[in-house]
Structure formats: C-alpha cells, structure tokens
C-alpha cells in the first residue's frame, strides 16, 4: 500500500467530527467525518450514522462504491479502523484505474479544433467533459441522422466509439490521420447506401398497419403487417437490396393464411424491382390490407383472447425481461370462422388448467377456449 499512517484530527470539542488525511500511491486524500457517536460505556459503537464528505474529484472516484462504504461503516467500530478500510478501497480503485483521471489539455484542444472543422452547427449535443458528442447528418431526403461518438480520455490514440441508428455497423477504420471528420464521412457514405432502404420502409410504415415493431427505428429491417382476420405477415428486408423479394412469414389460422400464401407463391414472378415493396405486396397478394386504427392494440382482433392484451405483461418479477415489452399473440385458432389470436404462454397455461388436455411429448392437445376447435400447442423449451 505504501501509504503513510493516516492523520486524524478532531474538528470539535465533543469529538463528533474529524478531519482525516492520508496518501495512497503518492496521492493525497482528505475526508471529513461528521455525526460520530459518543463512545459508549462498553467501548462498542457503530459508525452507521456517520456522514462523510470529500472533494469532488475523490467523490467521483468513489462513485459507485456507496454501498461498500455504507457496509464498511456499519461494520467498523471506530474511526481509525474505517479509515484503514477506506485506504484499502482507494488503493484498489486507483490501481484499477491506473491514473484514469482527467484528459490532458491537448485532448480538449484537439477535440475543439475538430469540432471547429466539422462545424458546430452539425453538433447536436455535447457532454460537459467533451467525451460524449452527438453529430447530426442530413441525408438527401432530409432525414436527420444522429451519430453518437464517445471519446476515450487518451483520444486520438484510442479509437472513438461511434453508434448510429442504422441497419449495420459502420467500419470507419481508425488510423494515424483519422479525425472525427473522416469518421463522419464514413457515416455519410454508409447513410447514402441505405437511402432506398429507408424510402421503402417509410412507405411501408405509411401504407400498412404495422403491428411490430411498435415504434420502428431506422435500424429495424423487419415489419409485421396486419392482414386482417387475426392474420399478419412478417417481412424481413435486406437493407442493401430493399427492392428484392423479402423474407416472408405468415401468422394466423391456416384457413385464412393458406389462400394468401398460395397467391404469394403463384404470383411471385410478378415481383417488380422497379416498384415499391408496398406496391408489389398489394399486387401479388391481391388482398385489401386493413388500415391502422386508433388504439389498434386494444382492438379485439389483435389482442390475446385469454389475457386481453397485445403485449403479454411479464408476470414474474424475478425474470430478466420483467417490465420490458412482452411477446405479442403468436398463435391463432385454425378454425376459419374463429381465428382468435392467443399468446402461446396463455394457451399453455389455460390448457394446463383443464383436465381434458392431453400431452404427447412436448405438444399439448386441447381446444380453442372460444370455439372448442381442436388446438395443439408446442411447449417452449425452458
């Protein structure tokens, strides 16, 4: 540890506040302690109510260790033993950080210069210490793209981390002469590549009733399109070839889906890459797509017939996905006149509740709760 013996000075006459100073790795630390207990008769006392203060830099260093400090305070019976613990903790932290304090003045000079050359009007947001930057790039269609850049303290030696809402990761090859400007240039080029993809997707979102994703991002390459009658079509689009035939998956009762699927296979030769995806789908599937409705998710035709929700709320607070967006109805009754959608989880729970359900390996055989049409549900592997 190599720290010299800690110095403890009382700050008031009744010995309830102290000043402590010590060094760890040649760095001076000083803390103030308040609200110390009066020594009790048996000599045992707890430090659990003690308050400590220090300068902002040390405070930052100790950020995230509050629980440990609180715990140590509870355990220690007097101030000197706590200060020794504190020395230990700081020793560990500064060892792990290897003097990861503040960036050098050159860092700021360089970052400011780089932003100058990019133009401050292209900067959408900047963190107080210049290590978090957000740049905006406008494409030809006037879409605003935000590029988030995180700079390491030893920038430009270490390459910056950049993220953007795009369907791919942009490789900006960080080398000797690279600057934020060249980095943004790589992004501009990448954005240019996806112009057609975004045009196709925006047209899709505008034309059809999109069930998933709820709030599509520019990076999302799939859409679930409502077909009406409890059915939907999920399409996955290749962002680099958005006008070619997408990957299609149908959801819903066989009775409704089969004719649509056979139209897709028999008319697929009509796919015209010069047209938009929506135009192709309308022509090839030859059906009337339902229009988005207000509060569509409360609509009886899309929500689960058992729990009445669209997104299944996660019931188990210990689960990792608790509170996140739950699954959407992924099973439907195969009876063409019924076709009620259900969450697989709800169906399984219901079938397990009633005694007439039969199980064979991992498939449950039961009935639709609405029309009693036979239904089979495959159990998900845990």
């Amino acid at each position: 540890m190599g720290g010299k013996e800690p110095l403890l000075l009382p700050l008031d006459a009744d010995l309830t506040s102290y000043y402590a100073s010590f060094s760890v790795h040649d760095k001076e630390f000083s803390f103030r302690f308040f609200n110390l207990p009066h020594p009790s008769e048996d000599g045992r006392s707890s430090l659990k109510d003690v308050k400590m203060t220090c300068d902002p830099e040390n405070r930052q260093l100790l950020a995230g260790f509050d629980d440990i400090l609180q715990h140590r305070l509870k355990e220690c019976q007097d101030l000197p033993s706590f200060v020794l613990e504190l020395q230990d903790i700081l020793d560990d932290i500064s060892f792990a950080h290897v003097k990861l304090s503040l960036p050098s003045p050159n860092f700021y000079r360089r970052v400011i210069q780089e932003i100058d050359s990019i133009g401050w009007n292209n900067l959408a947001h900047v963190g107080a210490d210049l290590t978090q930057l957000k740049f905006r790039i406008f494409d030809h269609a006037g879409r605003e793209h935000i590029i988030e850049v995180a700079l390491a303290v030893n920038y430009p030696k270490v390459e910056p981390k950049a993220t953007a809402d795009m369907p791919c990761v942009v490789d900006f090859g960080w080398d000797e002469g690279a600057t934020l400007k060249t980095l943004l240039h790589h992004y501009e080029e990448a954005i240019l590549q996806y112009q057609d993809f975004w045009t196709i997707m925006e047209d899709l979102d505008k034309t059809f009733w999109i069930m998933e994703p709820e709030n599509p991002c520019r990076s999302d390459t799939f859409r679930r399109i409502a077909l009406g009658g409890h059915c939907s079509l999920s399409v996955t689009i290749d962002p680099l070839a958005p006008r070619s035939i997408p990957e299609c998956r149908f959801f819903g009762s066989d009775a409704t889906i089969t004719p649509i699927r056979s139209k897709l296979t028999s008319n697929i030769y009509k796919w015209n890459k010069a047209k938009l995806l929506t135009e192709n789908l309308i022509e090839i599937l030859d059906i009337v797509f339902p229009l988005p409705e207000v509060n569509a998710q409360d609509d009886i035709s899309v929500s689960c017939g058992i729990c009445y929700t669209f997104r299944l709320p996660d019931n188990d607070p210990t689960n990792k996905s608790f509170g996140k967006e739950g699954s959407i109805p992924d099973r439907a009754c195969d009876n063409g006149n019924c076709g009620r959608p259900f969450h697989t989880d709800c169906l399984v729970e219901w079938m397990r509740t009633i005694s007439t359900t039969r199980q064979s390996f991992d498939v449950l055989f039961g009935e639709c709760p609405y029309c009693s049409h036979p239904m089979a549900v495959k159990l998900r592997r845990a």
Binding site: I306, C307, Y308, T309, L312, P313, N315, E349, T353, P369
Partner: protein, 158 residues
C-alpha cells in the same frame, strides 16, 4: 383456491379485469349495474329481474370474487342477501350453473356470466328452492365456496 384465503390478483388478471370493467362501463349488460368500488377483485353487481318474468321488479345482488389466476380459473359467483327463489339457486346464494365451474373458459366474461344468470332466472317457471337445498346448505356451513362442490348439472331446461 377458496375465497377464504384471497391472494392478490396477478398482473394478467388485473389487466384483464381493468379491460372487462372498461368494456362493462361502456356497454353494460341489460338489467345489471356494477356497484362502483375500488376493489377490482370483488365486484358487487345489482341484478334486476327481466320484465314479464317471475322476477320482474325484483332486485338481487351478485358477489363476484376473482381468483389470483383469473381468467384461467372461473370467478366465484354467489347471490348475497336474499337470493332469488329458483330451482338452481340455493338459499345460501350458491348457483348451480355449469359455466361457473366445469364449463368455464377464458372466452367468458363477467358480462357473459351475468347474462347467463339472468337467462336462467328468466326461463324459470316456478319460484322454488332446489330439492336438495337443506342438505346442501347444511354441508356448506363453514363458508365453503361453491367452487369446492362437485356439481352435477342434470337439468338444462331451467
């Protein structure tokens, strides 16, 4: 689960009941009134006998208690206070109606149960207790839930 040890509603149950209540408020079944309370797990529903039936101008109260895992399990539905005189309704308020027990399905709702009960009342031709009323009520003395009874639904006509 018996009504003597009520557990809180699961999230799925609470969610579904909120929606049922909302739908009820917008579209209440004819002849029924939900008595407003902040207890989602127990609904008190006022029933008014349908016109031109034996129960015309009579008012009864249903108590609907929801299990934690509703709608996987049926709610417990009983008449409180003075249960109507009916060949399928016992003097302790228990109702002999298949959809409340073996034939329950999550496709049903409080509203559909209420309609079934009213239709059961409306089709009655005599005001009388079930023949086994005394024996049944004696067996249920300790606040037994009707869901613990093994019912046999022998009569579909009334």
């Amino acid at each position: 689960m018996s009504s003597s040890s009520p557990k809180g509603l699961s999230r799925i149950a609470a969610n579904r009941l909120h929606k049922e209540l909302k739908e009820w408020q917008m579209n209440p079944p004819a002849g029924f009134k939900h008595k407003v309370s902040d207890n989602l797990q127990r609904w008190i529903v006022e029933v008014n006998g349908a016109p031109n039936t034996l129960y015309e101008n009579e008012t009864y109260y249903l108590q609907v208690d929801f299990p934690e895992n509703y709608p996987m399990e049926a709610p417990q539905v009983i008449f409180t206070h003075n249960p109507p005189l009916h060949p399928h309704i016992y003097s302790n308020g228990h109702i002999c109606l298949d959809i409340l027990y073996d034939s329950w399905s999550p496709a049903m709702t409080v509203s559909s149960i209420c309609i079934s009960i009213l239709s059961m009342l409306s089709s009655s031709t005599e005001k009388a207790r079930p023949v086994d009323n005394d024996r049944y009520v004696r067996n249920c003395r300790n606040g037994k839930s009707p869901k613990e009874t093994r019912w046999w639904f022998h009569d579909d006509k009334v």
